[in-house]
């Protein structure tokens, strides 16, 4: 069945973009932080959060391919629709990263090249930095030995090599999965099975790349904001947040489509299983969130606790709110079987957790970039809404481009008869 982008949905998503953009521009005009830090921080938050949804979905699709999961075959196109946002998200991230490299903003303090040299020679207005105490050199007041020690990893050259590699790998795999999925619609018999087995192998290959890149990407984009601090499970923590946001987006989208009369073969069991994913990954996120907190709380080392100190001092309400929304809420509300089979309830709870995970990303970025000068105003809400509209538009637009349920797939029949 083909999906048609209804006029109403088009209007709503475009209205979200326009209203959000206007509110964000009002916010940006009122942003008097140095180098418009607050605006850039928000672009990073939204750029990353929504990119993460598409990337989490790509990971999940690759996981389904690698495990040859049958029941998700029926909703495969919905996942592919969400992945359709990936290029847009990548462009937004590239803008933020490039602006950081060009010193248009100061989100990543380590990008300041003056931090890495112990000495400097001042010649009028001209300053040259050196590592040796040469003739006429004075101590560089900006020198930061902790960051300088990380220069082997935190340098612009390697940073860009890595980032181009992440985005290239993600986008190429996304394109490849999509094209093979569309190709399989036209195949039958042996060639269908061969292509299926090929996507199975490529799915596994993607997971290998993703295992490394999801962690290093989280270090580069988010953890390096607080360059003095580090946490070894940070990559997993960020990844679990992406994953659960992706699962929520997928279930809300499937429920929307079902409500509009599409996906007639998707039954309660599919919805139930998708609800289980939201529930389960909420627990994965809580587990990692708490593990990171507890280890740092327990050992009580000054260089580690500063991270939570900032959040505890200036973001206490949000800090607790994120925990309550992203852990207690899904635990209590999504535990029962009936809850996971109730579309209205799932949409309501899912939307709240969705915002909860946006707040989680907000709490990753803002304390390190704005400190105690944070706000949740027109800028933040507007930009969130604009990106939400962009995601909706892009996803629904991608859905129109292929049959909403795969025509041919070795496991299609099994998926149609999914019953738990």
């Amino acid at each position: 069945m083909e999906f048609t982008f209804s006029k109403r949905a088009r209007t709503i998503s475009l209205a979200l973009i326009v209203v959000g953009a206007v509110a964000a521009i009002v916010g940006i005009l009122g942003d008097h932080t140095d180098h418009h830090q607050r605006s850039w921080a928000n672009l990073l938050i939204n750029g990353f959060f929504f990119f993460g949804i598409a990337l989490g979905t790509l990971f999940f699709l690759a996981l389904q391919n690698a495990t040859e999961t049958a029941w998700t075959v029926l909703v495969k196109r919905v996942y592919e629709g969400i992945i359709g946002y990936l290029p847009i998200g990548a462009v937004v991230m590239l803008i933020v990263l490039a602006a950081g490299s060009m010193h248009l903003h100061h989100l990543w303090h380590w990008m300041d090249s003056s931090l890495y040299h112990e000495y400097m020679v001042v010649n009028g207005d001209e300053v040259t930095y050196t590592d040796e105490a040469i003739e006429g050199a004075v101590a560089n007041p900006n020198f930061d030995s902790l960051i300088a020690n990380k220069a082997a990893y935190l340098n612009q050259g390697f940073f860009w090599v890595r980032n181009i590699a992440y985005l290239a790998v993600f986008l190429l795999f996304a394109r490849w999965f999509r094209s093979k999925s569309l190709e399989m619609d036209k195949l039958t018999g042996d060639s269908l099975v061969r292509t299926h087995l090929l996507t199975y192998r490529r799915g596994a290959l993607f997971l290998v790349f993703f295992a490394v890149f999801s962690s290093t990407m989280a270090w580069d984009w988010i953890m390096s904001i607080d360059a003095h601090w580090f946490s070894t499970l940070f990559g997993w923590y960020v990844f679990s947040g992406m994953w659960v946001s992706a699962m929520i987006t997928a279930i809300i989208l499937v429920l929307y489509l079902k409500r509009k009369g599409y996906l007639p073969q998707v039954n309660n069991s599919h919805i139930h299983d998708m609800g289980k994913w939201v529930f389960a990954i909420s627990f994965l996120w809580s587990y990692l969130w708490f593990s990171q907190f507890m280890l740092i709380w327990y050992s009580n080392i000054p260089e580690e606790v500063t991270y939570f100190q900032t959040r505890w001092e200036h973001y206490k309400v949000l800090f607790w709110l994120v925990f309550v929304i992203n852990f207690l809420l899904p635990m209590v509300l999504l535990m029962s079987r009936d809850a996971k089979r109730n579309p209205r309830f799932l949409i309501a709870v899912g939307s709240i957790i969705f915002v909860g995970h946006w707040l989680d990303v907000f709490l990753m970025v803002t304390p390190g970039t704005l400190g105690d000068h944070w706000e949740l105003g027109y800028l933040e809400v507007g930009m969130f809404l604009a990106f939400l509209g962009l995601l909706m538009y892009s996803v629904l637009n991608t859905l129109t481009k292929a049959p909403l349920t795969p025509v041919n797939h070795p496991y299609l029949d099994e998926s149609v008869h999914h019953s738990i």
Binding site: F290, F293, M294, Y298, N300, R337, S419
Partner: protein
């Protein structure tokens, strides 16, 4: 007339399901089905009530959680106050992060064991209890449906069973 129990033996879960559907629509009450594995979708057909094991498990989990918190606050806060992680606060709330892993494990332990033991008692399948399985083949590759005449007064079970593709129909007095 003495009460009779009828065992209809099937060798395919789909045949079994359509047989059950046919019998139930004919007004027969199916007492139970013995099968080597869970047959999805059979429960609603023969009118088995939803299990309350989940609720039991939740209760056991809650009990475990309370017991763990209570125990740790007695051992480590009241009876012999401990300096946890270099933070001599001696308060349950401020030391809570250190207690979460233990509380979590104890919750899981109690929920899992409580659920398993309740299940065994409720099904009368504790180790050493006599097996109530009427036909050992139902642990291998056959599906056995149990019907009782006392449940089905005024229904011609035998007629309805004909044409459900049962392999055998065994009757027994009891």
């Amino acid at each position: 007339m003495a009460n009779k129990v009828i065992y209809a033996v099937y060798d395919d879960p789909e045949v079994l399901k359509s047989a059950a559907r046919k019998l139930v629509s004919g007004g027969v009450r199916v007492r139970d089905v013995f099968s080597p594995f869970p047959v999805h979708g059979l429960d609603p057909i023969i009118g088995v009530k939803r299990t309350r094991l989940g609720i039991v498990s939740f209760m056991f989990g809650l009990g475990g959680l309370s017991l763990a918190i209570l125990g740790m606050s007695y051992f480590m806060i009241w009876d012999w106050p401990m300096n946890i992680g270099g933070k001599p606060s001696f308060s349950l709330y401020e030391n809570l992060p250190a207690f979460v892993p233990v509380a979590f494990e104890f919750t899981v332990l109690c929920a899992a064991h409580g659920m398993a033991i309740t299940y065994l008692i409720r099904n009368k399948t504790l180790p050493g209890m006599p097996a109530r399985n009427p036909d050992p083949r139902s642990t291998d590759d056959k599906f056995v449906m149990e019907l009782r005449t006392e449940d089905n007064h005024g229904v011609e079970i035998a007629d309805l069973l004909q044409g459900t593709h049962a392999l055998e129909i065994n009757e027994r007095q009891y």
